[in-house]
């Protein structure tokens, strides 16, 4: 008889550990004695890296499923709203150059390809501005909802910017107090194998410094770069993707606002540089800014200089005094994520540059999949693991394709970094093939046919057309009904834009109101 899965042991806290703990314990009723037991062991000696401050809209359902109140979350994790990304100087290096990747799909996205209609007559508007109202909301610094909107419901689709350290602590408290997660603050010193039965290779327990051996049925490796279980114990190889995504270093800094009521951008600002790009994320109490770059193309000194001159625009001479925290990025992911009774989540599984905020979403996807697919017993675990590995290799590959797209759709050739990025040898075949298709038609759902794709064709459209990707028309005549529909959608978008511009408060104003009044659940 195969052993039932009754106890999940998570090694490592941080966003990965606590999101996994919260997802499994909420779904499997860990606070009841009949539920699945979840234990999280977190080392008091190790500090979480604290990267991953941008989420996707999925975070709303992830938190809701755990029973978290949006008001509490926003108040305690220094949260602001995010409605997409603004890419500055990515297309060309001109100061005025920018485009948006908003979170709301184009008008009529499932019924019509508005691109060709926009291309014919753009009325002086960018693609994203013509087909989606969100660019204007971001440009005006508006919030995606009202104080009278219920928790997690938006007028416009939205995600969050948050303080990763506060977020992990907030989830820890929620998991322990509300969801019945067992918490052990201790250092894991050894990983112990079963070796005598036919399932040899399974982990039976981990040895802690002060709490002895902790036994479990499934072990989740959330130990970040150190990858205690998946790497140190199982030696699962890491597939490096530096040949595709060149960025391997980050310099990060927190910048406080000058005044308490300074505007908070309601989108991530990504500004391209000679050998990388700079992120700029506005939280209620500070901005998080950082320069990610390719160390092959640029020295740390040059990167620091680029970051300082970026900061100078907003904080003036203070930019000379700031000190940066350096973080190494080894882009890539594991050859396998789930081996035997061990699955890796978070940076232990893989890590990429923060473009398009892939870190937290991959944790959420992993946590949700593990929790929803949690095998009933040890023998079905093999099947689940096989499916899981296939699905997540696919997901990582698609993210890499999408990130790479940003570099090749760019028209920049002002440095070796941008030129090297367009070298065909650095472009995955899967992406080369699709780009070939997109020279003749828009990205569609046909290109991404899985049930839970990470990026939809809409995202590809925003990036490609934001950077003026060439598209040759097929000779088919567009019928009149379709043209009328397109016109109707453009007009509709204009109307909605105006309505929302009038109705929505500024991002700062709403965040201040959330602190004072909170959202109601309904």
């Amino acid at each position: 008889m195969s052993k039932a899965i009754k106890h999940v042991v998570i090694v490592g806290g941080g966003s990965a550990g606590w999101i996994t703990a919260g997802s499994i314990s909420a779904k499997h009723n860990s606070k009841s004695k009949h539920g699945i037991k979840v234990t999280l062991i977190e080392s008091p000696d190790v500090n979480a890296i604290g990267v991953g401050e941008g989420t996707w809209p999925t975070m709303r359902s992830t938190l809701k499923k755990m029973g978290v109140s949006e008001t509490d979350f926003m108040r305690e994790c220094d949260v602001s709203f995010k409605q997409g990304s603004k890419f500055v100087k990515w297309k060309t290096d001109k100061e005025t150059d920018f485009y948006y990747h908003p979170l709301v799909p184009p008008q009529g996205y499932f019924d019509i390809d508005l691109f060709k209609h926009w291309q014919k007559n753009d009325h002086g508007k960018s693609f994203s501005d013509a087909v989606c109202y969100q660019e204007q909301l971001c440009e005006q610094g508006l919030a995606p909802k009202l104080i009278s909107s219920p928790e997690y419901a938006g007028v416009a689709n939205y995600a969050y910017h948050l303080d990763a350290g506060k977020f992990a602590n907030f989830l820890k408290k929620h998991c322990v107090d509300k969801l019945g997660v067992h918490y052990i603050s201790d250092h894991v010193e050894a990983v112990n194998n079963a070796c005598l039965d036919k399932l040899s290779g399974d982990i039976v327990s981990v040895t802690t410094k002060n709490h002895g051996d902790i036994c479990g049925d499934l072990f989740v490796d959330c130990t970040g770069f150190s990858a205690l279980l998946i790497d140190k114990h199982y030696k699962v190889p890491f597939i490096c993707k530096k040949d595709i995504l060149f960025i391997d270093t980050a310099l990060a800094v927190h910048i406080p606002y000058e005044n308490d009521d300074d505007a908070i951008a309601s989108h991530t600002i990504s500004t391209a540089q000679k050998s990388g790009w700079i992120w700029d994320i506005g939280l209620p109490s500070r901005r998080g800014v950082g320069h990610v770059y390719s160390s092959r193309h640029c020295s740390q000194k040059q990167a620091e200089q680029a970051l300082k001159s970026y900061l100078k625009e907003s904080i003036g001479e203070r930019s000379e005094q700031v000190e940066f925290r350096k973080i190494d990025i080894n882009p890539g992911f594991r050859e396998k994520f789930w081996l035997n009774n061990c699955v890796a989540v978070g940076m232990a599984a893989g890590f990429l540059e923060p473009l398009e905020a892939s870190a937290l979403i991959m944790i959420e996807l992993a946590a949700t999949t593990i929790s929803e697919q949690l095998p009933a017993n040890r023998s079905t675990m093999e099947i689940v693991a096989k499916q899981y590995n296939e699905r997540f290799s696919y997901n990582w590959d698609r993210i890499i394709d999408f990130l790479k797209l940003h570099y090749i759709a760019s028209k920049r050739d002002d440095s070796a970094f941008w030129r090297d990025n367009k070298n065909p040898q650095s472009i995955p075949e899967s992406l080369q093939e699709r780009i070939e298709l997109w020279r003749h038609r828009s990205p569609t759902e046909y290109d991404f046919s899985r049930k839970r794709e990470v990026f939809s064709a809409a995202s590809y459209q925003y990036v490609l057309y934001g950077m003026d990707f060439k598209f040759t028309h097929d000779n088919t005549v567009i019928d009149e009904a379709e043209q009328q529909m397109a016109q109707r959608l453009f007009t509709e978008n204009k109307k909605i834009t105006e309505r929302y511009l009038n109705a929505l408060p500024s991002n700062r104003e709403l965040i201040t109101k959330v602190a004072e009044f909170g959202f109601s659940k309904v």
Binding site: I147, S148, S149, P150, K513, F517, F519, S520, K521, V522
Partner: protein, 242 residues
């Protein structure tokens, strides 16, 4: 429900000694008002005439208790059908054109008058002062405001209890009139009766003691007035009165 051009002045026996408030016997003043705040002390009475809902304050997102007079913005079916004079008038409307304002901190609220209100003049109606002394009418208005203020505080406790037990749910009125016109009313909330029955016994008892159970049942039964309002509106539409 102040008019947008209101001009509040602190009531003063010199400056306002000649002022009178015209008696608005036909309630013309509020003929375009589609809802009014109501307070817990008057809910039993209000429920006899109007449907009572909860609605959110646009500035704070917090719930208010409101009586509905019309099925769309600026519509007052009670006024349009000349029914209004036979109905109880919520304290909030009774207290007009007087308001309480907090001018200075720690000094408590002051009685203010909206001098821009068309009922305010010097010719006819109830005088504010008799020979410089506060008139019985002004005393009565100020009592109404005191009751209203007390009510808003009681409302808050009551609503907090409803929120705490997740008893409030959104309700959308999807109305089709006899003439084929369609009207969707949203932004209204009501109390979920099934959830109320599931409130733990301990809290049930508190609800009972605080009088919340009867408030809730009055609010729920008041919703029957919506059907009546639709009937009247149908009749008004048929005779083209609106």
């Amino acid at each position: 429900m102040k008019s947008t051009r209101s001009k509040l002045e602190i009531v003063n026996n010199e400056k306002h000694q000649k002022l009178k408030i015209a008696i608005d016997s036909t309630l013309v003043k509020n003929s375009n008002v589609h809802m009014s705040h109501v307070v817990v002390q008057e809910i039993a009475e209000v429920a006899q005439y109007y449907p009572i809902f909860l609605s959110k304050d646009g500035e704070t997102g917090r719930f208010h208790i409101v009586a509905l007079f019309g099925l769309q913005v600026d519509e007052n079916i009670y006024q349009d059908s000349a029914l209004w004079q036979e109905c109880y008038l919520p304290l909030k409307l009774q207290s007009q054109p007087f308001y309480l304002v907090n001018r200075e901190q720690n000094k408590g609220p002051c009685l203010a008058i909206d001098v821009a209100d068309e009922r305010v003049q010097t010719q006819q109606g109830n005088a504010l002062f008799d020979n410089g002394k506060v008139s019985a009418y002004l005393k009565q208005q100020s009592n109404i405001l005191a009751e209203l203020t007390k009510g808003l505080i009681l409302n808050r406790t009551f609503i907090s209890a409803l929120v705490e037990h997740d008893l409030i749910e959104p309700i959308e009125l999807d109305i089709k009139y006899n003439n084929g016109e369609h009207n969707k009313v949203d932004g209204l909330y009501t109390i979920n009766k099934t959830k109320l029955e599931k409130v733990p016994a301990v809290n049930q008892k508190q609800f009972e003691q605080k009088g919340y159970v009867s408030l809730v049942s009055n609010m729920i039964s008041s919703l029957n007035h919506v059907a009546t309002l639709i009937d009247i509106k149908n009749e008004l539409l048929r005779t083209r009165k609106c």
